[in-house]
């Protein structure tokens, strides 16, 4: 079983697009032990993703969890999503030695939306963290958010991240109430994707090719005949989120919404709650859409923060999906015509 552990709701950054409330709640080792008991009863291995708030604020708890796991005859894997500010040589080495995959939230030049609590810029500090992480984990990918305010810096930010040494740049647009997308911003977002797509095509046949899952995953939805063969939605309960008190939710955006609790660390899963969520359907608005199989319209998390309902799509989400599929298909066509062998080798394995 895989759990995303919301170790704390506190954070040492003040990102403009963040929807997290900070109340000083912290997870206890006992809660994690209960989750381990639950997982050990039900599976042969347990995956933990350390998450927050900022999980490195709870580094001593992370160490306790890893130490405890080492005493058990059970297989564990670990990863973490961090803003990097509290990473240093010692902690990165410790995490790497213990096979904790580090996902670094870094927005490149768009980082200006992510201020320190005193209002100062965080780009230099997080860039230093990125260099350190890449030294120990060269395949680490950036987790990069594009907000409407910074959309014009999107392409240059991807360049910046590649120059820093990332080989894969994972982007997502900011969703939710703090992300004021409109037609003009969306048009500029398209320009950004078009430019990244053309850089991707230029570099595809070279040693400096890079990964850009936002478009690659859409190419794969065509090749593999649908999104279910390519990606996943955490509402399938493959990676449940757990809040500091030990309540279990289908995925990150559901956390702390009582109506979506599907279990607790203490009592396990509630079968009736699980079934009603896992079987949720695609939005009604999408009926008859020819892109339905390739669209993330079923993502309960995104739908929830955009529309307040897990099965209602927002206009922005719909336009964004159509845009990605269009750009990805043109990218796929151009790669396939220029580098057919390489394209097949990369995308059809």
């Amino acid at each position: 079983m895989n759990f995303t552990l919301h170790l704390t709701d506190m954070c040492n950054l003040r990102c403009e697009y963040c929807t997290q409330t900070r109340n000083g709640r912290r997870m206890s080792l006992d809660t994690v032990k209960r989750l381990i008991d639950l997982s050990v009863k039900n599976s042969l291995r347990t995956g933990f993703c350390f998450y927050g708030g900022e999980p490195m604020l709870e580094f001593s708890l992370i160490r306790q969890i890893i130490d405890y796991c080492k005493t058990l005859d059970h297989r564990f894997s670990f990863k973490m999503n961090t803003n990097g500010l509290l990473l240093n040589e010692e902690t990165v080495k410790y995490l790497s030695d213990n096979n904790v995959g580090i996902g670094l939230s870094i927005d490149g030049l768009m980082q200006k939306s992510r201020k320190m609590p005193d209002g100062s810029d965080s780009l230099e500090a997080v860039s230093n963290a990125a260099r350190l992480v890449l030294e120990y984990q060269p395949k680490a990918a950036s987790r990069t958010v594009i907000s409407p305010e910074n959309v014009d810096l999107f392409y240059d930010s991807v360049l910046y991240l590649l120059d820093l040494g990332f080989k894969t740049v994972i982007t997502t647009p900011a969703y939710g109430k703090f992300a004021a997308w409109d037609d003009e911003k969306l048009r500029r977002l398209r320009i950004g994707y078009e430019k990244v797509s053309s850089m991707y095509a230029d570099r595809f046949g070279t040693d400096v090719r890079f990964g850009f899952p936002e478009l690659e995953s859409k190419i794969l939805t065509h090749i593999r005949g649908g999104i279910s063969n390519v990606t996943r939605c955490h509402s399938d309960l493959s990676q449940c989120s757990v809040n500091p008190e030990g309540n279990i939710y289908p995925c990150i955006q559901f956390v702390d919404r009582d109506e979506y609790i599907i279990g607790t660390a203490e009592k396990g899963f509630f079968a009736d709650r699980v079934s009603s969520l896992i079987l949720h359907k695609s939005p009604k608005e999408c009926e008859g859409c020819a892109l339905s199989d390739r669209c993330l319209n079923f993502c309960g998390c995104t739908n929830l923060i955009e529309t307040g309902q897990i099965d209602r799509i927002s206009p922005f989400h719909c336009e964004h999906e159509r845009m990605l599929i269009d750009i990805a298909d043109r990218l796929g066509e151009s790669l396939y015509s220029k580098y057919p062998e390489k394209f097949i080798q990369v995308f059809y394995k």
Binding site: M1, Q137, T168, H222, S228, V230, T302, V346
Partner: protein, 118 residues
């Protein structure tokens, strides 16, 4: 911005994968399908029976290793099952050092890992 179902597909000039039944089964072993597969199988089996789904996960493991999924899934069975769900095996998203690390839905970083970066 608007919700606008697309009525007609454009012709796309890169091919759909032609795969054998085995390869299709293997490719469908992404986690999104795990639950659906299990539910599908359990619904076809007498309640409480064990389901084992085996297959290689071709793109998710560096060595193409096996994944085995087994168990009774409580929420997928008419009688509520017995709360015994075991998913076994190594899939990409659970392996920190794997290229195909899980990224989840687009709200928390969409899609799959990068094939090009491998």
């Amino acid at each position: 911005m608007k919700i606008e179902p697309v009525r007609k597909l454009k012709k796309i000039a890169y091919p759909v994968a032609v795969a054998s039944a085995v390869a299709v089964a293997a490719a469908s072993m992404t986690s999104c399908n795990i639950a659906k597969n299990i539910i599908y199988n359990l619904n076809r089996n007498p309640s409480g029976s064990e389901v084992v789904i085996e297959g290689a996960v071709p793109y998710s493991q560096p060595d193409g290793g096996d994944v085995e999924l087994m168990g009774d899934v409580p929420y997928s069975q008419p009688d509520g099952g017995d709360n015994d769900l075991r998913l076994e095996g190594e899939t990409a998203y659970s392996e920190p050092d794997c290229d195909f690390e899980a990224n989840g839905s687009s709200s928390d970083f969409a899609g799959v890992g990068s094939p090009a970066a491998e």
